[in-house]
Amino acid sequence: MEFNVQSLSKTFGEGRHARLVLQNINLRVRSGEFTAIVGRSGSGKSTLLRCLAGLERPSRGVIRMDGQPVTGPGPDRGLVFQNYSLYPWLNLAQNVAFGMELQGRFSRRDIRERTAYFLDVVGLGDRRKLLPRECSGGMQQRVAIARALAADPKVLLLDEPFGALDLHIRATMQEFLYRLWERTCLTAILITHDLEEALLLAQQVHVLAPNPGRISHTLAPNFDRQDLDNLRFSPSFLQQRRGLAMAMESVESCSDVPQGAS
């Protein structure tokens, strides 16, 4: 699997109201990679991810997956939103099974087995009968991840999946996602505004500078990730985080010039 984004631009609106949100984005994600895209609010992260998912059409440029242009949403690209995305009338197991049922290419037995497997993977095997509203935010996000994985995508797209969770649960979920990625041959693209999260989890970190959104830095942090909780506070991690934060700051202060129509 290879994801390839070539000179992607996205403009919302037309004429005088046109607003350039993404400018000339180039990206490449290979099979098995964990990529993070980090940027502050309004930089166009979600728009970029929605383009990758096929939910938004690029104004210019192409997105290819294994050479094929992406023209719309499809089951080869699983998506996890920040919240509101479980089907409230289905219990957790039914939520996980739903994608497979929609696709119609899984047998009854496959669906049953895969549902049980992925619920176990996210540690909710014994909660299968609960309704979403009976679950905490962290549990709901784990189910959303399990549901996306069970539908058998080639790449998992995550839009600030832990943004609504408190710090403690967030750390647990980051650990969870990282171990999941290690264990399975998952390809993941994670959107976040949290530098720490990006550096902690991803092999490739792309920084999206705002107005218009463009990739200003790309780095490949190389840490020993045996112990994420300690890594957060290790000097080399903190140093790299600080360096990146300063670099982002300097790019942003340059981009505060008024932007012309595209």
Binding site: L55, P73, W89, G99, L102
Partner: protein, 265 residues
Amino acid sequence: MITHAIRRWFSSEVLRSSAWRLGLHGTSLLLPLLLWLAVSHAQVVDPAFLPSPAQVIDSLWSMASSGILLADASASVRRVMLGFLLAAVVGVPLGILMGAFATIRALLEPLSGFLRYMPAAAFTPLLIIYLGIDEAPKIVLIAIGTVFFNMLMVMDAVKFVPRELIETTLTLGGSRRQVVAQVITRYTLPSIIDTLRINMATSWNLLVVAELLAAEVGLGKRIQLAQRFFRTEQIFADLLVLGLMGFAIDLAFRLLLRLTCRWAV
């Protein structure tokens, strides 16, 4: 959604104990009854205008034992149900489609928004000309009077389906058709049931209008006849039956909501 939040807020304040709730419910029904008893007992109003509860029950009993009541009620229920079903079968799917597809909305919203403001009762002369004086005009009147409300209320409910839910479905491999049938419809089911419940009340209102025209049997017809003979106790009795049946149907809808949408109540 908002009403749910408000309802929960209020209920958590006062109505947490079911004894309290039952007490209040009882009061809301018993108080008017006591008042009625007191007023008719004190004879402040001419009994010809305000019959006593006993007279009303007598009248109810005699209508029931002669079989008139059953004939009236079943004729009325049949009309309401057919008209209501017609409006539901047409209005709910159209409402869902209008909510889901901008093109269908653009096509139908102005028309239904406009037709909705034409009082259904005013259609009756036309309906009689077109459809005769049998059951058809009565049923169609009830359907016309509610179908546009069904469409617009269901359409509004569809707007509350979270965008994330629809987009998640598409990325899970769902087709647009599956999104409409399995996600939008399912998500709006509680609102659809509520819409139908509310428009059921309108159907009963229109029933009486419909029966005033030309009917042999029916609760509305009976009321009209009773007025001609100045039988106020019969009017009261029929009103009581209408109210009770409406109330029972309302409860049935609430029960249906509870049974089918445990996640939303």
